[in-house]
């Protein structure tokens, strides 16, 4: 944008000439007490819930407790300049954040202020959206029907996620939760070539709540290196920020995502993680003296997460005819909330709450992670309740028996440690299982296209790997992928197509191609 000083002057001159020195009236109150990031304000009789309140020096607060004669609010900024006795103003507004294309590739805080040093956001006042929005109603929704590929074999094969679904990622600390989210975001590049202007491109929002600043920097860097930053927004409420900013971040990120959803786009939002959001909310509520309940959380902590996750939805194709708030139907908002457990305890308060709100969970287990099974998905207790309808038909067919094979393997594995004499069938199940576990292992930052995934899973379930030693599987797999792409490009293209059905003809050609490669491999 080129600006001539003379233009600026003329604009300012016009503003000043139009400016009528009129008396203004506003609602004012007074700070009774301030501390720990919360303030009590006296007056402000008609204050709304969640209304923004302006303190001295431009510090903003948000009303959270409306009591008979005072308003409890959290401060959304530096509390040091707020003093007892200060006059405060109510603004009549609720918190809004900028939305739209201008935010893609940027790092912003919970109020939408850029924090990546790349200058102002390309967003105007019309782009502001309140961070709390009602969830789409029943008639405006459609059942989940398109797949959201994470590029991770264990997930796309056995716990498929559909667009508009809410799938919980749950596990202890350091079990690869963040890694899984990053890979899922990187994999969205395949939907539209990483070009945010391509309507097919799935856009992503990474909401970091209470993370170490270094983690967020790393995430940003990795997304950038892998070409995923241009279609991603990072909302960062780091551990060092006020608790209020931390519990607002998911709502802000969702408001940004909803803008795209309502324009008919597909969006993936990841919340990393909601446990820390609940901690922040608990802290603020205890300071505001809301009565504590189980685990000292306030009574409405369930609602904190349910109203957030209800905003994930697949919209009906005619949603824009039903509600003018949508400019185009058919969009979707998929969310992957993360919850951290202690010692794998999923029956704690927050995990049970979030499990009950989501459409399934992916359980990451520390023991598996340390045994080298990465991603450490515990297939036995991970489910996806709606994604099956959205899985590609070929993958569905090929991965059909995978789950049960793995379950049998896990059971026999525990059992076989006691005896040495195993019958042939048991031995065979154990052999197959060990190779399946190997083929499902996957490194970081290497999400796979649909075709590669199908070929790998097929090789595992059809017995092509049975003759190999488990430690050869990794090498075999990458060789096989290369072989398939260079010699059977048409076949792979077919498998990449979501519509392709898995029939006998296709199966025998894939089988033949895999066997050719195996013969070459063992030789």
């Amino acid at each position: 944008m080129e600006l001539k000083p003379s233009e600026v002057t003329s604009v300012l001159k016009k503003e000043i000439m139009d400016f009528q020195g009129s008396a203004s009236s506003e609602k004012v109150g007074q700070v009774l007490a301030v501390g720990d990031g919360v303030a009590r304000v006296y007056g402000l009789d008609d204050c709304m819930m969640s209304e923004l309140i302006e303190f001295r020096g431009g510090v903003m607060g948000m009303a959270l407790n409306l009591e008979e004669d005072n308003v409890g609010c959290v401060l959304l900024g530096d509390a040091a300049s707020v003093r007892e006795g200060d006059t405060v103003k109510s603004t009549g507004r609720v918190i809004s954040v900028p939305t739209g294309d201008g935010l893609l590739g940027r790092v912003v805080d919970s109020l939408g202020k850029p924090m990546d040093g790349k200058g102002a956001l390309a967003a105007s006042d019309e782009d502001l959206r309140p961070i709390e929005q009602p969830a789409p109603s029943v008639v405006e929704r459609a059942p989940v029907c398109e797949p959201l590929m994470t590029g991770i074999k264990a997930i796309d094969a056995m716990i498929p996620i559909g667009r508009g679904q809410r799938e919980l990622i749950i596990g202890d600390r350091q079990t690869g939760k963040t890694a899984l989210l990053i890979d899922a975001i990187i994999n969205q590049q395949r939907t539209g070539g990483g070009d945010p202007n391509n309507p097919e491109q799935v856009l992503c929002v990474y909401v970091a709540i209470g993370q170490k600043q270094s983690t967020v920097v790393e995430v940003q860097q990795k997304l950038d290196e892998n070409g995923a930053l241009p279609y991603t927004i990072i909302v960062n409420a780091a551990a060092s920020e006020e608790a209020s900013m931390q519990f607002l971040a998911p709502y802000a990120g969702t408001a940004m995502a909803e803008r795209f959803r309502d324009e008919g786009r597909h969006v993936l939002v990841v919340y990393d993680d909601l446990t820390k959001q609940a901690y922040a909310y608990r802290q603020v509520m205890l300071l505001l003296r809301r009565p504590p309940g189980r685990e000292a959380y306030p009574g409405d902590v369930f609602n904190l997460h349910s109203r957030l996750l209800e905003r994930s939805a697949k919209l009906a194709d005619n949603a824009h005819e039903l509600n003018p708030a949508y400019s185009k139907g058919g969009g979707s908002l998929t969310s992957l909330p993360v919850v951290e457990t202690q010692e794998g305890d999923v029956s704690a308060y927050i995990p049970t709450n979030v499990i009950s709100i989501t459409d399934g969970q992916i359980f990451l287990e520390g023991d598996l992670f340390y045994a080298g099974v990465r991603p450490a998905v515990n297939v036995g207790i991970s489910v996806s309740r709606v994604g099956g309808a959205a899985q590609t038909p070929a993958m569905k067919k090929v991965a059909g028996g995978l789950r049960i094979n793995l379950a049998q393997f896990r059971e026999l594995e525990a059992f076989s440690q006691f005896g040495s004499d195993l019958d042939a069938a048991t031995q065979q199940t154990l052999n197959r299982g060990a190779r399946l576990v190997e083929i499902l292992k996957q490194g970081q930052y290497s999400p796979l296209p649909n075709a590669e995934q199908i070929v790998s899973i097929f090789a595992g379930t059809s017995g092509i790997l049975d003759e190999l030693e488990p430690d050869q599987v990794k090498e075999f797999e990458s060789g096989l992928h290369e072989h398939m792409r260079s010699n059977h490009g048409d076949l792979m293209e077919k498998l990449d197509n979501w519509e392709t059905k898995w029939d006998e003809g296709l199966e025998s050609s894939v089988q033949a191609a895999c066997e050719t490669y195996r013969e070459g491999f063992s030789a």
């Binding site: 944008m1 600006l3 233009e7 600026v8 604009v11 300012l12 503003e15 000043i16 400016f19 020195g21 008396a23 203004s24 009236s25 506003e26 609602k27 004012v28 109150g29 007074q30 009774l32 006296y42 007056g43 402000l44 009789d45 008979e68 004669d69 005072n70 006059t87 103003k89 105007s124």
Partner: protein, 184 residues
């Protein structure tokens, strides 16, 4: 100061009870007079802390107050007795404030403040009060405060609403406007 000083819920309960008792006895006028008398005593330098001093026996403190305002009516006397009995004499100041605002509501009076750079002349103040009385339909009385930082004009705060017609307010809103001017 924005509106009346904050009072605690307990003080408001005592005030309401005393007010209702006086109303029932038909002695509201006398009660209002008593409130004035007690407020006057409380305003004497050092009186409020002395009356709230827990080291002095509560009965003695109440007795002292009764002697300072000799002819209290039944409602006011009862209020003092009950406060003494319940060991709540230290909130007397708040109870009086709450009672006074109840009286104001009862009579349809509104109290506010007017800030100016230099004190207003009496007739100017009256015309301001008349203006706000007209607007609110209540009997408005404004307390004067001088505030040099306004630079000029007046600023009135009444029942949680602030009317700003000061030079500073205008400059500030001009600044806000300029900050948000879209020069693109």
């Amino acid at each position: 100061m924005v509106g009346p000083a904050p009072t605690s819920p307990a003080a408001r309960r005592y005030a309401k009870a005393a007010f209702l008792a006086a109303e029932e006895n038909g002695s509201l006028v006398a009660f209002e007079g008593d409130l004035g008398a007690m407020n006057a005593v409380m305003e004497v330098e050092g009186m409020a802390p002395a009356l709230a001093d827990p080291r002095v026996d509560a009965k003695k403190r109440a007795e002292f107050l009764k002697r300072a305002c000799p002819d209290l009516g039944d409602a006011a006397r009862g209020l003092l007795e009950v406060l003494t009995l319940k060991r709540r004499l230290e909130i007397l100041g708040q109870v009086l404030a709450a009672s006074t605002s109840l009286m104001d509501v009862h009579h349809g009076r509104l109290k506010g403040t007017v800030e100016t750079v230099a004190p207003l002349a009496a007739d100017e103040l009256h015309s301001l009060e008349a203006m706000f009385s007209n607007q609110t339909g209540k009997e408005v009385s404004l307390e004067q405060e001088t505030n040099p930082s306004l630079l000029g004009g007046v600023r009135v705060t009444l029942a949680g609403t602030r009317w700003d017609a000061s030079a500073r307010g205008r400059l500030e809103s001009l600044r806000n406007k300029l900050e948000t001017v879209d020069i693109g």
